[in-house]
């Protein structure tokens, strides 16, 4: 029946990512080396993890701008404890930080009915301030080498352990969100909250879970950040919220909720991360980074909106045509009888 089902937006993003690599490869062939491709992807591992978390929230139709501060706080907590020789505790506490920020956000949005952008904006300020309180404004430095080398552990050339874990996580979440009943709640809630309520889906709990997951993933991102960067400043993770929202949008996740997938978030983050390497290979200064991100974001989203409008129009016409045919055949049947 659904012959004209449009491709999922993530496909467009994947094609774009491949085209980008091929295009730059034409100009500078060494860009297409496997090691470089993997290096590009690896460099975006923190973005990828955080983007996957925020994708839950965006798919349920809310937004979370507190992830940047959460990454910073988790990194600071994890880093300082690892430095003092309590690695396991550090990792656990970093995850706890993420979960508690998520719970706080989720509680405000679902039970106090505060619009999510405002709630998480407030949380962002609070958590960012707490980083200063916790670190007393100092850098967390001198992390042990073993901890830093965690991010350098590699499989197959330069495929890092962190990225492998992220990809496995992505596949698992993708399956969970598309194949399990509870996993599909997220899209249902984002697509039509009232309809979801009528179907008996626990809307509030689903949104709360989405926020907790977003916080948790930001916590994991913070741990990875601490390991990759090796030192944590009080402004660690600042601006990440905007980057990962942009990544989600590039990956075809709609900010109105209900549309998008984890694959999209991952691909979007990969595009964002590869851009800066693309600039290096094209011989452009890194100053172009923001300009190109901005232009790309606007162009992709505007084109997508125009195409979707058209395909919606086409679908509507098809349905109308099908209805006419159907009623004609029905009248034929009745005339025979």
């Amino acid at each position: 029946m659904r012959k004209h089902k449009s491709l999922p937006r993530a496909t467009t993003s994947v094609i774009f990512l491949i085209l980008m690599f091929l295009g730059v490869g034409l100009i500078n062939t060494s860009f297409l080396k496997l090691s470089n491709i993997l290096l590009s992807l690896n460099s975006g591992v923190v973005y990828t993890v955080v983007a996957m978390g925020i994708a839950f929230v965006i798919i349920t139709g809310e937004i979370d701008v507190s992830v940047g501060a959460t990454v910073g706080m988790a990194a600071a907590v994890c880093g300082s404890l690892v430095r003092d020789g309590q690695g396991t505790l550090g990792v656990l506490l970093a995850l706890l930080v993420g979960i508690s920020v998520g719970l706080f956000n989720g509680f405000g949005v679902t039970y106090l009915r505060i619009p999510s952008i405002i709630m998480t904006l407030g949380t962002n300020g609070i958590v960012r301030g707490m980083i200063y309180v916790y670190t007393e404004g100092k850098w967390v430095e001198n992390l042990p080498v073993e901890f830093k080398s965690l991010s350098q552990k590699q499989f197959f050339g330069t495929f890092t352990w962190f990225y492998l874990l992220t990809l496995i996580g992505m596949v698992l979440i993708f399956l969970f969100m598309n194949k399990s009943r509870i996993g599909r709640y997220f899209k249902a809630v984002g697509d039509n909250p009232n309809g979801a309520t009528l179907l008996g889906i626990p809307v509030k709990e689903t949104k709360l879970t989405a926020f907790v997951l977003s916080g948790l993933f930001a916590g994991i991102g913070g741990i990875m950040y601490a390991s990759r960067v090796g030192f944590i400043t009080p402004i660690a993770g600042m601006g990440y919220e905007m980057k990962v929202i942009a990544a989600c949008v590039l990956g075809g996740i709609s900010l109105t909720g209900g549309v998008g997938s984890m694959v999209g978030a991952t691909v979007g983050a990969a595009i964002m991360a590869s851009l800066s390497r693309v600039l290096v290979f094209l011989g452009l200064p890194s100053d172009y980074d923001n300009t190109i991100t901005g232009i790309l974001l606007i162009i992709i989203v505007v084109f997508d909106s125009v195409f979707q409008k058209r395909s919606a129009e086409r679908m509507r016409k098809q349905r109308l045509a099908a209805k006419i045919v159907h009623s004609e055949s029905a009248s034929e049947v009745s005339s025979h009888a």
Binding site: I114, I117, I118, M242, L255, L297, I298, V301, K309
Partner: protein, 339 residues
């Protein structure tokens, strides 16, 4: 209707709550540090939050239509660096450069506004792209300048900087007067003109506005132009006050601006709100930060109280729409009406 507004309605207004909050702040900080109450110090604090206040006034317009604008910080930086380069490196007349700066703000606003109004892309996405784009262009422009980007361009003539830094009778800063003038302009535009009513109508019900013959797309786009213009004005004032043109002047104002607008009672869902509330909220936040820093609180911690204030205030506002809370309030009102 307006004339029959009773005292109780005024007391229960959100703006009254903000004024009360402001008075409490002044009182508390005055008790902690009497120096705070010196007119020179108290009025001088406007310097710290002028940019945010002026940008927030015009971002209010955008939020009333149901949109959001997170690109104003980038426009502040872009305007500032453009003026610096035009004046310093290209030798343009400073006042001509200021006009060009205002035009830049208008163009940036119009570009984003166009995409918001004429395509179905969410305002948040467009202005997110805009914020990347405009801050990126600002960075690229610094390549045309002979000065290092991180130093910024300085050495502006005194008459330009003194216009903003000066004080009337040595007490009231010019910035306060400029701020009040912009509050008045924004107030008249949003609350006293036909255009302002159209903006509200677009926020309440876009389709209804369309059927009433309002050119909704144009109205929505115009709010982004205004917001871009407001950001450009703020960029000019900040450049003059600091005496330096830099790309990252507006880097961290986006979140405070939205905080001020929302704390001022403008809903991010559109249709309600006002300029006076935004102006009051901006002052409340500014005084809170200033007072705390005078009370020897580390300035880096100040995001915490501002965040708490935002969440608390909005929680109170939104729980007022909760049926059970409404019942309690109406009971209280009845009791006070017939004792």
């Amino acid at each position: 209707m307006r004339s029959t507004r009773s005292l109780k309605d005024i007391v229960f207004r959100w703006e009254s709550f903000l004024i009360a909050l402001l008075l409490v702040e002044v009182l508390v900080f005055g008790l902690i540090n009497p120096r705070f109450l010196m007119p020179r110090v108290l009025f001088g604090s406007i310097n710290n939050f002028m940019t945010i206040s002026i940008v927030a006034l015009f971002v209010t317009f955008v939020l009333v239509t149901g949109g959001i604008d997170i690109q104003s910080g980038a426009i502040v930086g872009l305007t500032s660096i453009t003026i610096g380069i035009l004046w310093n490196d290209l030798g343009m007349n400073l006042y001509l450069a200021l006009v060009v700066g205002l035009f830049i703000g208008i163009i940036c606003g119009a570009l984003s506004g166009f995409f918001v109004a004429y395509t179905d892309v969410q305002p948040m996405v467009v202005t997110l792209g805009g914020s990347f784009l405009y801050s990126g262009i600002a960075l690229l422009l610094t390549n045309f300048s002979s000065t290092e980007a991180y130093k910024g361009i300085s050495g502006f003539p005194d008459e330009f900087t003194q216009f903003v830094r000066g004080r009337i009778f040595g007490v009231i800063p010019h910035q306060l007067i400029i701020f009040l003038v912009f509050v008045l302009i924004a107030y008249i535009l949003l609350h006293k003109t036909k255009y302002g009513r159209y903006i509200f109508l677009c926020g309440v019900n876009r389709h209804a506005a369309e059927y009433c013959g309002v050119r909704t797309k144009l109205v929505v786009m115009s709010t982004y132009v205004l917001s871009g213009l407001g950001a450009a004005v703020a960029g000019i004032l900040l450049t003059a006050y600091l005496g330096t043109a830099k790309t990252d002047l507006g880097k961290e104002i986006t979140l405070p601006v939205i905080t001020a607008v929302v704390l001022g009672g403008t809903s991010n869902l559109g249709g309600t709100g006002g300029v006076i509330g935004t102006a009051l909220a901006a002052v409340v936040i500014g005084i809170l930060r200033f007072g705390l820093s005078l009370a020897n609180v580390n300035t880096q911690y100040l995001d915490i109280p501002v965040g708490v204030l935002l969440v608390l205030a909005v929680a109170i506002r939104f729980s007022a729409g909760n049926p059970t809370v409404q019942k309690i309030i109406s009971k209280l009102r009845k009791r006070s009406a017939n004792p």
